[in-house]
């Protein structure tokens, strides 16, 4: 333990900037792995017409990943999946961690465009901030894949949740839940207002509400990705509307603050809490099982990781002109409830250290 700490400290001071050091380590591991795989996979492929081209398409390529931050389960799971395929097929993963800063993310992409990786996978806090850069990257011959959230530029692919449909599902669940409730009042708590989940999701809520005129949306507030802020919003709303039927949230990372507010108001079991997220075991499945959420719409990040890997390989094999043939892959929105969650296999990232 002590030796480990000393070693970590030393490597920390060597780099001073943890994200830089981490990125370097990741890049180093990638190069090493690529070397090992290249040496090991000198085997010949079965010439069925497509298999050799598949492996050749990947070999020696570089895929850059710009996450929101590397400090939460979603991005850690993505990287685990990306790294696994990269190691297997002999390409390199480069991570640039902007740690929740939109500015740093933009700078990271600017820098990457100079370095010319083959593919950039962007997981944006604020997709609109990347719009100009998508075209710039495409013009520089770099393919662009959006992970789970996008801006208005398409790039080459979007892989992730259909957040519009996701929130429509939550409204339908709430409508069902509120059929026999004292009131049909619902309240929407948004994520950060510039985030794609809030932009697409809120549109979904409003469109679906047209099909449920009985539901009364009594307010929309922004939780800004902060569970504590969500908790005080929920507490205020419950004082104002003690007969509220349900909360609709847009991300479990912040909506974990709703259940304590409901409990403090003495309304546990009387107010529905509908949220969604990446389906990580401790944050999603365990919380659904212990009753923090009435229902949880899961946009499985493990599956998304596989789908993004597939998109990378599809683009590298077909190599269209960058930005010319954008496509989308949406994962299934799976509803988890306290009743069905025990039958569901939840992923979890083992702690990286």
């Amino acid at each position: 333990m002590l030796m480990k700490t000393v070693e970590r400290t030393r490597s920390f001071f060597a780099g001073m900037k943890p994200w830089t050091t981490k990125a370097l380590i990741a890049a180093g591991v990638g190069v090493l792995a690529a070397g090992v795989v290249a040496a090991a996979s000198a085997q010949e492929y079965y010439a069925d017409g497509i298999m050799p081209d598949y492996y050749k398409a990947a070999k020696g390529k570089t895929v850059a990943f710009v996450p929101i931050a590397m400090t939460f389960s979603i991005t850690q799971e993505y990287l685990k999946e990306f790294q696994a395929q990269a190691d297997q097929l002999g390409y390199k993963i480069v991570v640039r961690d902007p740690n929740w800063s939109v500015d740093k993310a933009v700078q990271a992409v600017e820098q990457l465009i100079v370095e010319k990786p083959d593919v950039i996978i962007a997981h944006p806090l604020d997709g609109m901030a990347f719009n100009r850069l998508v075209k710039k990257a495409n013009d520089a011959g770099i393919y662009w894949i959006w992970a789970n959230m996008k801006g208005s530029a398409n790039g080459d692919a979007f892989v992730g949740a259909n957040h519009y449909e996701l929130d429509r599902v939550k409204v339908r669940l709430a409508a069902d839940y509120c059929k026999n409730a004292a009131s049909t009042k619902i309240f929407l708590i948004q994520t950060a207002p510039t985030n794609y989940t809030a932009i697409a999701g809120t549109q979904g809520v409003q469109d679906e509400l047209k099909h449920h005129p009985e539901l009364q949306l009594v307010g929309i507030q922004t939780g800004d990705n902060d569970a504590n802020k969500v908790k005080s919003i929920a507490a205020t709303v419950l004082k104002q509307h003690p007969d509220l039927c349900a909360f609709i949230g847009q991300w479990d990372g912040q909506d974990i603050g709703i259940a304590p507010a409901v409990a403090e108001a003495g309304l546990t079991g009387k107010v529905g809490i509908f949220t969604g997220g990446g389906g990580n075991k401790p944050e999603a499945c365990d919380k659904v099982a212990d009753g923090a959420y009435t229902a949880y719409v899961n946009y499985n990040i493990e599956t998304q990781g596989h789908d993004i890997n597939a998109a990378v390989m599809q683009i590298l094999q077909t190599h269209p002109k960058p930005g010319s043939q954008p496509f989308a892959t949406y994962v299934e929105n799976k509803v988890l409830t306290p009743e069905n969650v025990k039958d569901f296999k939840c992923w979890s990232v083992s702690p990286p250290k």
Partner: protein
């Protein structure tokens, strides 16, 4: 010292207004009214007016339950504001408070989950907070780095080091061994949320410290005029270190309580605008940014006003952008009021202070 006490009390005229009084021996009614108007009273009046308006126009606002919710929502900001006030009275600022708020607690949760005894982990948490305070104090008192830069950097160092070494996730759930903290901090005593009681206890302790201890009085003296304080024999450098250690320890305790109330430590707060909210309640209540002026009641009044505003705006369902705009405008007004009510003292102010 006498002058300092008077100014701290906010009731004696400032140097500028006494000059004005000398020039016009027969003080007009306006001057006498002006003499009694300080920022705390202005803000208190605004808070009372807002409270009355919201009570009349917003259904359910004046309900006792809502008022407690309102206080609960800003209690942590208020506690941090008390720590920040000590530093600002001593003519400094502590931007590293959010790092100390989130990181030691998150680290304690990680270690307790990994099997470290709760007592040991808590002790280490306290050591980390005190070390952060000592680092700030050393940089500011002995190396004479301006506090705004020293604490900006030290906050990033505390956050970065601990994230790199120990806390890899930015949301750390309360470990099962500490599950008992949930009922403690999520429940009520005598009908009052325990978080609000926590604010009350910290306010009492800070009030006793500032009002009745020599060190507390020294902080006012240093904030009012550091050179004069040193000349009269006040140990300026150790007291500066002390004030940063106190603010760090207050941030640590606030962090533990905050984490217990939402069942997880959220280190992402470091990247949020929370530190501005803390400065907002301190400055809004009338603690002068120039140092030497301010009391616990200033912070409590500032906290109450922000609580009333946020609660009212949430009930009115204002958008995020509108809420931020209103909060920012109020901070600007408070800073303008601060510069009018507490004019810069040309004799003691120096270039580079905030």
């Amino acid at each position: 010292m006498r002058k300092t006490e008077g100014r701290a009390g906010g009731s004696e005229p400032s140097a500028a207004s006494s000059e004005r009084n000398d020039a016009a021996p027969r003080a007009s009614l306006a001057t006498r009214v002006l003499k009694d108007v300080d920022q705390q009273r202005i803000v208190l009046a605004i808070a009372v007016i807002l409270f009355a308006l919201f009570s009349i126009f917003l259904r359910g606002f004046a309900d006792l339950g809502n008022i407690l919710t309102l206080l609960q929502g800003v209690a942590i900001i208020g506690v941090l504001g008390l720590g920040m006030a000590i530093v600002i009275i001593g003519r400094g600022i502590d931007l590293s408070m959010i790092a100390v708020l989130v990181m030691p607690t998150a680290w304690m949760f990680v270690e307790v989950r990994n099997g470290m005894p709760i007592g040991t982990a808590s002790l280490y948490g306290l050591v980390i907070a005190i070390a952060a305070g000592l680092l700030n104090g050393w940089l500011i008192a002995y190396l004479e780095v301006p506090s705004i830069f020293a604490t900006l950097a030290s906050g990033t160092i505390v956050y970065g080091t601990m994230q790199y070494l120990a806390v890899s996730d930015d949301i750390v759930p309360v470990p099962p061994q500490l599950a008992w903290t949930r009922p403690v901090f999520q429940s009520l005593s005598f009908g009052v949320p325990n978080v609000v009681i926590f604010l009350g206890i910290v306010a009492l302790l800070v009030w006793l410290f500032l009002r009745f201890t020599v060190y507390g009085r020294f902080i006012y003296a240093i904030g009012d005029n550091p050179i004069a304080a040193r000349t009269t024999g006040v140990p300026v450098r150790p007291i500066l270190v002390l004030q940063y250690v106190i603010s760090a320890v207050i941030a640590l305790f606030a962090g533990v309580v905050l984490a217990a109330t939402v069942s997880s430590a959220n280190t992402r707060l470091f990247n949020s605008t929370m530190i501005y909210d803390v400065i907002l309640v301190v400055v809004l209540g009338g603690v002068g940014l120039g140092g030497g002026k301010g009391k616990v009641s200033n912070v409590l009044v500032g906290t109450a006003l922000i609580g009333i505003l946020i609660n009212g705006m949430t009930i009115m369902n204002l958008s995020f952008v509108a809420q931020n705009l209103i909060k920012a405008s109020i901070l600007l007004l408070a800073i303008i009021a601060d510069s009018i009510v507490n004019p810069r003292d040309e004799q003691t102010s120096q270039q580079g202070d905030i």
